[in-house]
């Protein structure tokens, strides 16, 4: 049961094509878990269809239709990319970015309890996977910009509530939290952060930049 969804404005931006690669990835992966948001995006895309239908047309140059018709016979029918084979149910939208299942990830250790895998970085936006054993804490921190965290497996709890598979947490920059991985299986998250995390413990402040956090 998913309790934490992206807000409507974010889904609208996704439907309109305004979200960047990082946000598109985390929203599409949320939708792999969430039928409600999937249906909402389909509805929002109809706004795009309506706007396209209503927009004042700008004439194509003369001969454009003939040029298109001339290409039809040699145009190959589109084929979907083959779906990556998954042993553990990792959504294809995510495994295409990881380059394999969650089960095949070669984690980089931060501590005995925490590990991570950087996926990509665009400007100040960083996308990574995080993994914590039950009871693991990231340490109290706030952010330079918004932080989006999607739970893929297990769960975590902080001052704002508890999050399980498919739940998306949105933290605005100034909000402070100290997420703790829930008991049970390891907690694996997909996180999109802007800027660096601002840790409160002096040691973490020194160590975090070494890991790119």
């Amino acid at each position: 049961m998913i309790r934490h969804h992206p807000e409507g404005a974010l889904l609208l931006a996704y439907a309109g094509g305004a979200t960047d690669e990082a946000m598109s990835l985390i929203l599409a992966t949320h939708m792999a878990y969430c039928e409600t948001c999937r249906a909402e995006v389909s509805r929002l895309e109809t706004i795009g269809g309506s706007l396209l239908q209503e927009i004042a047309p700008v004439p194509m140059s003369g001969g454009a239709l003939d040029a298109a018709l001339a290409k039809l016979d040699t145009a190959k029918p589109f084929e979907r990319r083959p779906r990556p084979v998954s042993r553990d149910g990792t959504p294809a939208v995510l495994s295409r970015t990881i380059g394999g299942d969650l089960g095949t990830v070669r984690w980089r250790r931060v501590s005995a309890k925490l590990s991570y895998l950087p996926l990509f970085r665009h400007g100040s936006v960083t996308v990574r996977l995080l993994r914590g054993v039950p009871g693991a804490q990231t340490g109290a921190h706030h952010h330079q910009g918004p932080e989006y965290t999607l739970v893929l497996k297990g769960g975590f709890t902080d001052v704002t509530g508890s999050y399980g598979p498919g739940d998306l947490q949105v933290m605005e920059g100034e909000m402070r939290h100290n997420p703790i991985a829930d008991p049970g299986e390891d907690c694996i998250n997909l996180a999109v952060t802007t800027g660096h995390l601002k840790f409160e413990a002096p040691l973490q402040r020194i160590v975090a930049p070494l890991f790119g956090f």
């Binding site: 309109g16 690669e21 598109s24 792999a32 109809t46 706004i47 298109a68 979907r80 995510l94």
Partner: protein, 182 residues
């Protein structure tokens, strides 16, 4: 006389089923100038907008077998093609998309019938026309500006919270419009 949504949907189905070139010509004549206008609104040069409109309609021909009239109208389906084409070619970015089989929850969306869908879309269009101008503006900017809402707020000179509240109001009205006749 411009063809209506039912004619356009039927034309796309004919392209999918029998590779009907006359039906393609109808779709091209209707949609290529609209896709071109959409791309111009997003800042493409006239030459690029023309090329990409050609490419979008060629994609329609190549992908027609994937069109499901029970799930979307021809206009909405082509909008998603044009949107993704623009991200690929103008923004040169990837757009991670949900794989059609990427459903962790087994439940399929309730089977829509295409008549109800067409009805929804015409009510949606009517509701869009009835929205106050400040709400239309934030909706249009979400589709035609290629900018995050924070940047839209900056350009309109209003707080981000105002952009979001206008969007919320607009979406609530659109949803009510869709709910009313049910």
């Amino acid at each position: 006389m411009t063809p209506g949504a039912p004619e356009l949907n039927a034309a796309l189905v004919r392209v999918a089923q029998v590779r009907d070139r006359a039906a393609f010509a109808v779709l091209f004549s209707h949609f290529a100038p609209r896709v071109k206008a959409y791309l111009l609104r997003l800042g493409a040069s006239p030459a690029l907008a023309e090329d990409l409109a050609q490419e979008a309609l060629l994609s329609l021909w190549r992908k027609a077998h994937l069109f499901d009239p029970a799930k979307a109208s021809a206009a909405t389906w082509l909008f998603t093609i044009a949107r993704n084409l623009r991200i690929d070619t103008i923004r040169r970015e990837k757009r991670p998309e949900l794989d059609p089989d990427d459903f962790m929850s087994a439940a399929e969306p309730a089977a829509d019938d295409s008549l109800a869908l067409a009805d929804d879309e015409s009510r949606l269009r009517a509701a869009l026309k009835d929205l106050p101008p400040d709400q239309v503006q934030v909706i249009e900017l979400s589709f035609f500006a290629d900018k995050p809402h924070s940047q839209i707020a900056g350009e309109l000179g209003i707080p981000l919270g105002t952009v979001k509240s206008r969007l919320r109001l607009a979406m609530a009205r659109l949803k009510r419009a869709l709910g009313e006749a049910e």
